[in-house]
Subunit: 113 residues, 2 copies
Amino acid sequence: MVEQHLNRVFHALSNPTRRAILGRLASGQTTVGDLSRPLPLSFAGVSKHLGVLERAGLVTREARGRERVCRLNPAALRDAQDWLEFHTRFWTERLNALGALVETGADEEGERR
Amino acid sequence: MVEQHLNRVFHALSNPTRRAILGRLASGQTTVGDLSRPLPLSFAGVSKHLGVLERAGLVTREARGRERVCRLNPAALRDAQDWLEFHTRFWTERLNALGALVETGADEEGERR
DNA sequence: GTGTTGTTCAACCATGTGGTTGAGGGTAGC
DNA sequence: GCTACCCTCAACCACATGGTTGAACAACAC
């Protein structure tokens, strides 16, 4: 269900630490260790954040020896971006149309009473 | 601070009820009552959600008599959309570049060890 | 005035979140 | 084998979230 996916992606993005992790990952794949080194967080804390990002489909973790290599998956942002793009465009057009209506004397408020 | 704003917007969008409210609001301004009527939620519950959306700057509430009229503010989506657009583009380009590197025999993994 | 309606607020509850610590499982190095 | 390292998991804590109910307030209707 796409709704569920949107929930997860938006929630994942709502945390600055997780956005930082994504930013870090954008400059290349890394291990969990490298990822957590600069963060003011415990190892396990970072691992939890990665879990959230992974459940949202934004990153993948893959075992390589005793390390875990983390990679970005930009495709997972697609749904969220589509949602935002559609709605900003749609809303803006609607609001412009309403503005035009008001200017011509019609009263939009009647629509909802 | 834009970080703070992103937190709030993404968090506001991470809830399906709130996205439904936004969708409903896209077809015209409404009162809190009209908004909560079709939702399987108490009046106060909807009011709380509106508080979250308002703090994120996504909607505005304005008193009109004893009612509160809710309106969309599409501009507040701008930051979130910009963030997403920049990152999807940036990530995708990076990943394509890495793919090209790998194909030419260079090993990107050396970058982070 | 009284009563009704629209809305918020405060208090509460269950659950989720972001963080910690400590234990433990694999893997690498010797 | 042993030890050291990378990482996850389970348990815990404080606090936020999403929901409820009931009280309160402001404005309309009479």
